[in-house]
C-alpha cells in the first residue's frame, strides 16, 4: 500500500479531486468523506472506475454518504471511522484534499 487520499470536497465545485487523481498511484487508496461523497456521481469517478489497469481501492464513509442521501456504487467499499483509522496506518502516508 502506498498513499491514502482523503477527498473532502465536491468535484462539482472545486478541482481538488481532479488534482488528487492526477497524482494517484496504482497502489493508492481513496476515501470519499464529507462533501467528497458527492463525487460518487461525478464523471471523474466513472473514468476512475473504468481504468482497466486499476488496483486502486475506493472507499466512502457510510454515514457521510447517507447523511447526504447519496446512493453509492458497487465498486465502492463502505467504511466506518474506525476503518479510516486503520487505513491511516496500513498506508505509508495520508494526503488530504480539501
Amino acid at each position: 500500500m502506498s498513499t491514502l487520499h482523503l477527498v473532502r470536497k465536491s468535484a462539482f465545485t472545486t478541482n481538488d479531486f481532479a488534482q488528487c487523481l492526477s497524482v494517484l498511484d496504482q497502489q493508492d487508496s481513496i476515501v470519499l468523506m464529507d462533501d467528497g461523497c458527492y463525487n460518487l456521481k461525478h464523471p471523474l469517478m466513472d473514468s476512475l472506475i473504468k481504468r482497466a489497469d486499476s488496483t486502486i481501492t475506493i472507499n466512502v464513509i457510510t454515514n457521510h454518504a447517507q447523511a447526504r442521501a447519496i446512493e453509492t456504487l458497487a465498486e465502492v467499499k463502505h467504511i466506518e471511522m474506525v476503518d479510516l483509522v486503520e487505513l491511516t496506518f496500513t498506508h505509508k502516508k495520508v494526503i488530504t484534499w480539501q
Partner: protein, 122 residues
Amino acid sequence: MKTLAVVVTTPPYSHLTITALTYVETALAAGIKVIGVFFYQDGAMHANENISIASDEYQAIAHWQRLNQQYQLPLHICITAAEMRGIACDSIDNEQINQAFTVSGLGELVELTTKATRLVQF
C-alpha cells in the same frame, strides 16, 4: 508503536471539524497514541474562550476539552494564527484562552511531524 499527529485548519463552527474530532476520538479509543493536535489557520480559533455556539449545535470546543482531559491529548494552537484572529496571547493567566489549549509556535508542528508515524490534516 503507532503514533499519530493531527493538524486541524477548520474553525470550531465548521462542520468539517466534527469529522476531525470523530477521527481523533476513534483513534484514541482504538489505542492509537495521538501525540498532539496542532490547530493552524482558522483552526486556531478553537482556543477563543469567548466563542459562543448555539446550545443545540455541536459543541466542538467542549468535545476537544473532553479529549484533552480524558486522554491527556495535547492541543496546540499556533500563536501567529491565533493573534490574527483576535486571540490576545501575550499575557499570562489569559482569560481569553481556553485552558485546554497550549499556545505554541510552528516549531511545535515540526516536533509533532518528526515524531509521528503518521500526520493527518483536516
